[in-house]
Symmetry: C2
Subunit: 182 residues, 2 copies
DNA sequence: TGTGTTTATGCAACGAATTGCATATTCTGA
DNA sequence: TCAGAATATGCAATTCGTTGCATAAACACA
């Protein structure tokens, strides 16, 4: 499982609380590996048991105390071991395809609506990526870590752009089918 | 959950045994909704309980008996209800991205190997899609069900093609980074 | 003064998915 | 003739993921 590694990778950048991690997953690494805050808290517990992170409570007046997690040398080692092994193909699960597979049994107007929604969602994602790219990745930072994040943003932008294109092509095709009177 | 619907959709084409379904998931609908045989058998049990499929055992001499599942009117109705509701965005989980996110902490040669493997896997998928397209979807069948399957094949081909392109672009970029001596 | 949002953490229950095992027979090739 | 693949089904255990709930305080706004 790569959730634990994704967390360790985040903690390599800087020590974080579970809350910080949840926000990071929402805003950057989570574009490529989704996780909810409950998953993150549970996984942090496991990482602590394995000795891959150290956790220390920091008292805050007023707000609840923060528990800040730091990656240990054993954790860094675990990241290295993981990164040297090839991962598995991401498993596809897309309801929209299944609906197309059953085109004869679905309501065509509803399907067109769903297609429109999906295109919108991908466009939202795309503009989010572009904003981040403009804000943080148009500069001159040449470090490896920065370069890696720049590259996945570029990949994400290409992925979303092509998705939008072929979803629009699919929309065109089913509209044509409808007009043909099937 | 759409696994149950994916199964029902398959059974709309023709009655099948669990084994047939597992093979169908391996060879066609599973390109867009992966499922193992254990998942399928368990789900078939649930569908039977709900009355969405009827199952009848067919004696076979020698081989173990086949249990053939047929969709019921209630099952067909369930497909309709499901298809009218918008699905959720497929959740992304790709280790390769996570490795790029941690570019400073991973072994670059290993990462390049993994990239090569992934490009190969997508190329394999692509040529599988193209073969199916040539064999079954280059003809004149104008039925809706046929058209839907043709469209998802086209979408799949576009998806894989663009994936291969940007994975190669990523390979080019990290090679460039390496040569720059970072 | 109250309502809602943000920060901050976590349990409990359930449902989904994976992994490993188990059985039993036919057919194919070495 | 013997090994192994393909056909055919399924249980059990574990892990992963989601949903709903719970707590607790600061702060912004109306």
């Amino acid at each position: 499982m790569a959730l634990s590694e994704a967390i360790l990778v985040c903690l390599t950048d800087r020590p974080m609380s579970g809350y910080d991690l949840a926000k990071t997953f929402d805003a950057s690494i989570g574009f490529f590996w989704r996780a909810s805050h409950q998953q993150i808290y549970r996984e942090l517990g496991k990482l602590r048991e394995k000795g891959f992170v150290k956790s220390q409570e920091i008292a805050q007046s007023g707000k609840p105390n923060r528990i800040v997690h730091t990656i240990t040398p054993a954790g860094a080692e675990a990241v290295k071991v993981w990164s040297s092994k090839p991962g598995r193909m991401p498993s596809v699960k897309d309801e929209l395809f299944v609906k197309f597979y059953a085109l004869g049994s679905v309501d065509m107007d509803a399907l067109k609506d769903h297609l429109t929604i999906r295109i919108d969602q991908h466009q939202t994602k795309l503009s989010k990526y572009r904003k981040i790219q403009d804000r943080y990745y148009s500069g001159e930072d040449q470090s490896l870590n920065h370069a890696g994040k720049r590259i996945i943003l570029e990949m994400g932008i290409k992925e979303e752009t092509s998705r939008i294109e072929w979803l629009q092509a699919a929309m065109f095709e089913i509209t044509k089918l409808e007009q043909a009177g099937n």
